[in-house]
Symmetry: C2
Subunit: 186 residues, 2 copies
DNA sequence: ACACTATCCGGAGACAGTCTCCGTTAATAG
DNA sequence: CTATTAACGGAGACTGTCTCCGGATAGTGT
């Protein structure tokens, strides 16, 4: 067990600042935001940034994790809905909105999606749990095929989101087709 | 009209070499292949590489265009098949194989998919034509909904390919769902 | 309030990759 | 064979990533 000392006040503050600046920079400039620039915007030196986040990837992961976590939390709130099919669809739509708003983050994360870092595994797990719940309800209501798995849904929606990145107007249309494909063959 | 002088023999040869080296490097190392390294592998100086391809993007586009072109040619051959539904499915499967083999190229291209460079527009057009033909036949055979457009198919398959990049075993499964979603609601 | 020290800050700079400039080489025309 | 000029290739400017360490400061004990 490593002794978990709490961060010093200034350290915590700086860490927070960097993450905010990074979130904005990645959202706006996508993957080509420079780290030194993020440090400058955050009002800290490059050294400080790199101490908190050893490399580009770590910083990106931290930002991404925050966002995913928020997304999953909103998913839980939806679980209470009466119509399970609509709840699932609504959650998927939320993901679209997220990607639209944080376009750059998505792209940047995409590049390192293969890396099985603990953070990434965490994110995937969070997502799986969130969608799993909504999916199960929709299946029990007979709106979705029994053999569909949480990962299937995640991958499909992820795929549609990615491929409609530059043509958002067709996103709903495609999502519609995909959802139709998941319904039980009557 | 710019006078189109034919390339000098050595220039043509070097250009070819660079493209080969680039294709291999991108396939293997993905987006992080360095251009100077590609030049070295191709047996030319960096200056030569940059004269033929002013920047990273141009080189990538050239490689990509070649591959897409080959893919479309193979699509035409499929158009002769008897079963149009199967021909379409087969072509989509070919795309999977391509991406699997040239993983890095795909990733790298993804990052600049927004750029509406002439080359990219060309590639999209080629693809649209290729899939349009197969799609129309499948629709006439009643295997696919009438309202589905070529772009829908391209985006969907592109999405599935992207999102199963790291879990190829589920690609067929997902493609199956997607195709089901495109079939006429009976 | 004061001093002490573990912790943290920040910027100079090492290193790597992208791309340019220009003197040299060699393909092609006459 | 010579002249012309397209093309070569490497030295190096520039930019972004990341490291190192002297100086500053929050937190702690007195």
């Amino acid at each position: 067990m490593t002794t978990e000392r709490p961060l010093r006040a200034d350290a915590r503050r700086n860490r927070e600042r960097v993450m905010l600046a990074a979130r904005d920079a990645f959202s706006a400039n996508g993957e080509k935001a420079t780290l030194d620039d993020i440090a400058r915007r955050a009002g800290v030196g490059p050294g400080t940034l790199y101490r908190h986040f050893p490399d580009r990837e770590t910083l990106l992961e931290a930002v991404y994790r925050d966002e995913i976590s928020a997304l999953c939390a909103r998913g839980e709130a939806l679980a209470a809905r009466e119509d399970p099919s609509e709840a699932l669809a609504e959650w998927l739509r939320m993901q679209f909105d997220y990607i639209k708003a944080r376009r750059g983050v998505g792209i940047a994360v995409k590049q390192m999606l293969g890396t099985d870092s603990p953070t990434m595994i965490d994110c995937k797990t969070m997502m799986r749990v969130a969608v799993g719940d909504l999916l199960r309800r929709a299946q029990e209501a007979g709106a979705i095929r029994k053999e569909v798995e949480p990962d299937d849904v995640l991958r499909l929606v992820h795929g549609v989101v990615m491929s409609t990145e530059h043509s958002p107007e067709s996103a709903d249309r495609l999502l519609g087709f995909v959802l139709d494909g998941l319904r039980p063959p009557r």
